[in-house]
Symmetry: C3
Subunit: 363 residues, 3 copies
């Protein structure tokens, strides 16, 4: 894992200045960097701490005066955060999964593994499954019956892929992610209290007791290329057709995607987001942490929600949303500020009413 500054800069298509033959063995924050680490100081305010560490070389912003920080060399980037993507890929030591099919893995004879696939111990590749070339199936994973996973996938430990799921190339799944659990779809023999409440917006009725009959999920899940799933994130199968996720979508940990949901490409879905059944989400949508989206809605392209937003109705493209229920961020802020002033307004009104109603006392 040792690299010259020259080589790193060249790999990233960036300019390096100074003694670019210097060798680094890792990266560090400015204050804690040792002499053989590349310090990361993406903004001037972070660079101040370089003096507290031992770094001889740093990655800095485009026009940084690197010599003024006592450095011997620097890599300069107009968008250092983007450069960090490439740099971190070079520097990542990974999880150390062994190559090849481990003797304590079970691969069904009818499964088809591409060239160079590795399968970790206690993992299971079921009948009819197909794993693309170069894929790494970590330990203790379960790949279901007739599931297909594309080339160069990386599944960490304990990932569970259900029967008939279809996944594109370069899939990454963190530990415990579940693709293709059954959708949550139940029905009562007669009209239920929930259906009545939806129809009447609030009338519950005196529900006679009813039990729930299960609707089996006959669809599966289709994920595009370059999809990533966080730890313990769940994407349910569809009722009739597949639940579908576009190319380039990234999901954080503990996310829930319900049955029949359709998500466009390049969406960023933060931790603990829940998307209820049959909702359709556009492309380049960003849902902040703990956002909830109700069922059967349409969320347009480029929509962004702040953390904790609860989306209860469809949202046009390009909106930035916040609140519960979700409204445009500016509307939310306006309402919120007004609410903060409301207690005083009520006190003022009470005072003036008292003044009006008791004229004799105040005269």
């Amino acid at each position: 894992m040792s690299h010259s500054i020259k080589d790193i800069a060249s790999s990233l298509g960036l300019v390096a200045e100074g003694d670019t033959d210097l060798i680094v063995i890792g990266v560090a924050e400015p204050a804690s960097a040792t002499a053989d680490q590349l310090a990361l100081a993406m903004r001037p305010e972070y660079a101040e701490a370089l003096g507290r560490g031992q770094a001889r070389v740093a990655m800095l912003w485009a026009d940084a005066d690197w010599r003024s920080y006592g450095l011997q060399a620097a890599i300069l980037s107009k968008r250092p955060r983007y450069a960090m993507a490439g740099l971190s890929a070079i520097m990542d030591p990974g999880q150390g999964y062994s190559s090849g099919v481990h003797p304590a893995a079970l691969v069904d004879p009818t499964a088809v593994l591409g060239q160079g696939v590795s399968v970790g111990p206690y993992s299971i590749i079921s009948a009819g499954a197909r794993i693309g070339a170069g894929a790494v199936i970590g330990p203790q994973c379960h790949i279901g019956w007739d599931a297909h996973i594309g080339d160069d996938a990386l599944l960490h430990s304990g990932v569970r892929i259900g029967a008939r799921v279809r996944i594109g190339a370069r899939f990454i799944a963190q530990p415990g992610a579940v693709v293709g659990a059954d959708g949550f779809s139940f029905v009562t023999p007669e009209v239920s209290g929930v259906e009545r409440a939806r129809d009447t917006l609030g009338e519950t009725g005196t529900d006679t007791a009813q039990s729930w009959a299960r609707i089996h999920s006959l669809g599966s899940v289709t994920l595009g290329d370059d999809v990533e799933l966080g730890a313990n994130t769940c994407i349910d199968r569809g009722s009739v057709r597949d639940t579908s996720v576009g190319d380039g979508c990234k999901f954080d940990n503990l996310v829930q995607v319900g049955h029949n949901v359709i998500i466009g490409q390049d969406c960023l879905i933060c931790s603990q987001v829940g998307i209820a059944g049959s909702t359709v989400i556009g492309r380049n949508v960003v849902l902040g942490g703990q956002t909830g989206v109700s069922d059967n809605l349409r969320i347009g392209d480029n929509v962004i929600t702040g953390g904790g937003t609860k989306v209860l109705s469809s949202v046009p493209a390009g909106r930035v949303m916040l609140g519960y229920p979700a409204v445009k961020m500016e509307t939310h802020i306006e309402s919120y500020k007004a609410l903060r002033r409301l207690p005083r307004l009520l006190r003022d009104i009470a005072k003036s009413q008292k003044a009006v109603s008791k004229p004799d006392e105040t005269d």
Copy 2:
């Protein structure tokens, strides 16, 4: 998986009309159905798309004029969504778990398996466990010491059942579900800041630092018959007695049920709901996605909460609740509409005050 229309209708107790000898091999949405699939068009607005697909036969609502859609046969149902439950059970190809006890499964000699039980590879059945007849324990599951699971259970991959848990018949658990983790119960040697805040509703005090001592969960978990758990859902054990879930309750993915909680029968608990310790929930309750229920509350029968509702106090039977803190849905809507009008009201008041306070300028 090929079935005649006649046989399907007969299994579901429904009327079929037209050429009921037609054979179908699966189901599909109207627009994408092939000639050998049964199209599902539960409402007139969905049936319009039949012309775009190849379906010769569809499941439709009770009095549908099926011939007008160019079909050769139809199955008619007064409540097609309910019929979908039976139909989907017939058509579900399942996950393909193999039968019998896999050689790479560990079954303790003191465990008792009923007739026809299957245990998947890398699963563990611990000492004293009992598995009812016909149960399917999928791959990589862990059934703890002295845990009992009823007949005809279906555990998908990686389900974890703790020691001494009791589960009724026809249990279904999606991948990664955890029953019987320890409750979250800690106590400080002296009165803690949390206890003070609860007593005073806001006074925090300058807490001297204290560490948390663990209260072990001596109770277990009891689940009734026909309970279903979603992927990565967690039901904690009780402190002294068992956490308890009634017959027929269905839980979606990533749900949290705390220690000592008691849930009545036939409740529907949607994804990412959290129910805190010692709360008691009635029967036929429906909690919408991301609902939170505080500890030690009582939620009456037939209560329904909308998505994202945070229930901070007990709720009488039959209420439909929404908001944070949860209130009756109609109260929430009224407050919400008023809040939307508040910014304008404040502007109007400011304007009129300005008019009153500066009479000379406006004259």
Copy 3:
């Protein structure tokens, strides 16, 4: 598991009165206790039920008149809830994991196990890992490359510890917990809609489509001593330095801790809480269930949040917070009460305006 009342009281440093040679084999709630169980009645209101059970001995509050409840003996405690911690540890029968390294476990020859370590079936201890003396690694766990776990740890089934993670002594992890998944860190080649929305507080711009490049997590996770993790809880690795959790922190189920987060000691993090990347949390902080904390914030020591609180800005030490966005609990309650009165205020204003604007009609 049979203990004399004398021995229990002595272990807990408490006073026992009456026939302290009585033997109990377990604990129970007052109403359901059998004659050989110790009833737990921590407060007078719970003691009323002793008459409905068969208990001969109970644990009661300090000055309880135990003879009046028909008991033959009692253990008395000034803080019975704290006594419960010690008592439950004595009475816990545990999960029954077998000792030693199971033949169906894989321990890399370069891993170092301390004295008395047990490793359950289908668990994996990777190259370079170190497990402290007396640790119990349950079944189906994965301990990654070069991960270190301290003495006397207890990992329940299916726990996943990533490469290079450092964990202190007496660690407890419930089933499915994940430490050291990759952080959720992505960047677009050009400035993204999210960055613009953050800068402008609401202007979304017409985002040209961009894909997300992954920033690899080069840091790991460091957990102090006496840390506990709930079922399916996730703590992500840091981007450059480690994500860090102080001694004595307890996490409930389904919690999310993002990359680079720093948490002080003795915090209590309830179920389904999410803490976004790079946020710094003080010591003795208590976050109620479903609390969300945005990224890059600072939460002071002794802060407490109520259930469902969404913290969108930094919080000074000692505050009790509630609401979305989070405010001081008293501010939240004041706003909330005012909001409840707002619809009536608006109606009154509308009425008086009508009266003013239509004088002829009302005359």
